[in-house]
Amino acid sequence: MSPEAPVLAAEPVPVAVVGNPNTGKSTLFNALTGATQQVGNYPGVTVERRQGTCRIEGGTTTLVDLPGTYSLAAVSRDERIVVDVLAGRLEGEPRLRAVVVVIDAANLRRNLFLASQIGELGLPMVLALNMSDEARQKEVRIDLEAFARRVGVPVVPTVATRGEGLDELRRAIGRALREPGSFAPVPWPEPLRRALDALPGELSPAERSRALFDLEPAAPLPPELGEAADRARRSLEEAGFDPVSAEAVHRYRHIDTLLDGVVTRAKPEAARRPYAVDRFLTHRFWGLLVFCLLMFLVFSSIYWLAKPLMDGIDGLFGALGVEVGSWLEGRPMVQDMVVKGVIEGVRSVVIFLPQILILFFFIAVLEDTGYMARAAFLMDKVFGWTGLNGKSFVPMLSSFACAVPAILSTRTIEDPKARLSTILVAPLMSCSARLPVYILLIGAFIEPRFGALWAGATLFAMHLLGLVVAVPIAFLINRFLLKLRTIPFLLEMPPYRRPTARNVLRRMYLSGREFVMRAGTVIFAFSILIWALTYFPRPEGLAAWVAKDNPAEGEELERQVRTAYLEQSLMGRFGKTVQPVFAPAGFDWKMTVGVLAAFPAREVIVSTLGILYAVEEDDEEGLRDRLKVARRADGSPAYTPAVALAVMVFFAFCMQCGSTVAVTAREAGWKWASFAFAYMTGLAWAAAVVVYQAGRAV
């Protein structure tokens, strides 16, 4: 036996799952791997990497789920991942031992294009004819045995949503590893064959095809090969072949001969039946109306339905803090760390779960039914010109509730450029965590002076601000910053399908689990760090110094001691040091500390200001009153409506949200997370300065 022979040892064998979009590939992958899957990113790109363990006949495999694609001709760097992994060229990726190609049984012809390209890799291969029930409904009849004989590799009909055909598929993977077949090669006409053979070096048939046929490869070929490919293409043209269309024409011709007589095509009426509702759902009036209603339902669910759950989590952790705190009475440092660092840190992760789970429920349903593609179709014109696309709508809308689930949901956007720019502008939408800040300041400075109408208008304006700014910023980012190639907007409209509870629940579970494990750790770390900065150092004798010659006693004195500690802390000193930077925006040092300490979560500014102004926790009315009478050192009022507006505008634009930073880093890498933080903070500062200076002049 040669060392290359596929022996199924104890080591799991790496096997890839590939296929066109909308073939149910991920559902099949989920069904095969279940809870064993791990999610990560390929280095340097925003492509999700999913792998999991799958038991097969006589051993186990490590299944790798590759992004859906129609062709191995990669346009973007992200698409190129598929080719690189399949060719075993990507560093850190195992050499694949087999490929499962998932095929929409109702669309065999188009799906076999990719299968035929993959066949040239020479890897053992299995075709999973998924959604074979749908093919039956469309009256597509396939003579499976004859078809498998013609293509030369095992063919297994599956219905992944119902778990049908999975055992046969596991057996077929095992069989393909033991006795690899090969996918029927394309009988290229003589000039094409000569051109392919003329390419130099030790190349697989797949690499020859890609070098010759891909006119705009995502990564440049080695110079020698590139020149040889140019020469080969010129010789093709001289022989009367068009290098642009040669591959498609001859591959499809080959596929037609493979299908001839073994597959009866769908009758046109039967093929159209699943699209009937589109007359209504993509209608220029009714379609938009349904879209608006659906989006309103999604948004109000994440906004209002999550609220009681989040309040419940807050209550639970509050009670836990009190209980655990009472056990640690007498050890103030440990008590403070456990209650305000650890328990608060865990709370700040768990608090996102209701919104994430609810949003991913809707995303799973919208995607599984096929409606997401219609939503993108309806909205594309609105967003397309900025470089975002129709699929950016759901994340942008969700971001008005919270940017964290919104950024996670950008995974539905295939175009890497549109996805990255959506991630970068989504946090500008005014999320629910900004609301407490607006309410505090509007309540203290706008409403009493200008009345309820202006208070409402200010609140509305704050929410509009992010959206108005996001559109031009997305445009600028796309125009000048993202050096990624745009992939053509060719979006398949899948037939409407019934979502299954199993798949929807699995999507919710996986998204929640992944958030806690990946972003959760970073959010927790931020929380501990900010706790330490606001706690240390604890100068001895500070409490006594505050109490000396102080008429206050009891609780009032305790509050003043707390204020003194915070003022003395690293965070307090840091705030005083950087206050001059915020002076043009009218911030005093207390507001500056409040802004800085709000990094783990925006709403923290309210409780930080509460400590700095020595009011009881949760006493918002008390805080409002203190803010109104607060004075600067020179006796002028610390806050005016101009300062209040400047602070609100700063909060509308800034990225003072560790969780958003963590999730952005998780999805797009630390480089882009730092960029987002920097541009949003810069924008927030500049806008606050403009508002304050203008307000003062008026």
């Binding site: 346009v75 190639r485 992939i487 053509p488 907007f489 060719l490």
Partner: protein, 79 residues
Amino acid sequence: MTLRELGLRRPADVVGVDGKGALAQRLLAMGFLPGTPVEIVHVAPFGDPITVELDGWRVSLRLSEAAALRVEPRNGSPK
């Protein structure tokens, strides 16, 4: 004429794909080969993109991309 100018619900056949780049090759890979019957089945509310039926499935594309596809309307008037 190009697919961009074809108009709603007017059956046509693909004549060819213009351009030498990634878009042309992507369209060909998806099955927009010369001789393939195509028909615009929906136009988005704001006039762009359009949804095209070919070979029993449907794909939506922007007008700027549809301009790369040359088509020949079938004989007879639009249905």
